[in-house]
Symmetry: C2
């Protein structure tokens, strides 16, 4: 049976990311500002596989000159376009981001008790998705698959919902 896998984010190289970002920005006649660089650094420093815009705003709360909320939001959009970040909408009202750099496509298992997010990749599932799309006349561009449930740890503690 094809094994589903959980991976740890590989150690990430800021220079590689910056290079990729710069290439994108140049192509679009956009600029690599100090703020954009700082945001990228904070994303790596935080070392969270998934974070929100607000997590990032928090990082700058006690810093001056502070990077503003508006800039954080604007930069996140640019980074998503640059394929530096992936944007997800899990159950909640806010968006969740993760680095896409060096990380193959994957989907998510979300624990509805503790909020833990596990990543998985299953090749059979990917094939099946393409099959479903094309048999309905769709030309798939991307997908989002989330499986909600109770993780092993919570289940062990007796949580059942």
């Amino acid at each position: 049976m094809a094994r589903s896998t959980i991976r740890k984010a590989p150690e990430i190289d800021i220079d590689g990311l910056l290079g990729k970002f710069e290439t994108f920005l140049q192509k679009k006649s956009l600029k690599l500002t100090s703020q954009r660089r700082q945001i990228l650094e904070k994303i790596l420093e935080m070392d969270k596989t998934h974070f929100t815009a607000d997590d990032l705003v928090d990082q700058f709360r006690n810093q001056r000159p502070r990077v503003s909320k508006a800039t954080v939001y604007r930069s996140l959009s640019v980074m998503v376009e640059a394929d530096i970040l992936e944007e997800h909408q899990f159950g909640d009202s806010y968006k969740v981001y993760e680095l896409s750099e060096g990380r193959p496509h994957h989907d998510h298992l979300i624990c509805t008790s503790c909020g833990k997010i596990l990543e998985f990749f299953n090749a059979d599932m990917e094939k099946l998705q393409d099959k479903v799309a094309s048999s309905n006349g769709f030309h798939p561009t991307h997908h989002s698959q989330k499986i909600f449930g109770i993780c092993a740890a919570c289940w062990g503690k007796g949580v059942r919902s």
Copy 2:
């Protein structure tokens, strides 16, 4: 090969729905108010497989006494709890609802060009999802799978993104 299917919503029976709703409300010591009844009626009248809270608010715009926005939102929550409606968060910032009554579980294909939503069900996919969850120690409760792409019609018009 297991065929994926697209279904039309079956003709829906208001009395059945109301009955189910009442049973739920009684169990929870909640009340079947005229507004809740009207909202359920409008949902059926609209005859949309997927609708938003705002679609529903619109239905009451030219009616008096008007059913308020707050009541619409509050009722949608109750109906989700009662398993009368399913709530989805597709790519956008607002929630999308659909009747769950009499409709087996299914997932969605979403056209990023025209917004069309197709439903599908694929038994192999469901099995695979359970397998992935349990092999990661998860006890799955539900899932959300969305495949984004260009539908046949848009593709025919030359849309490629």
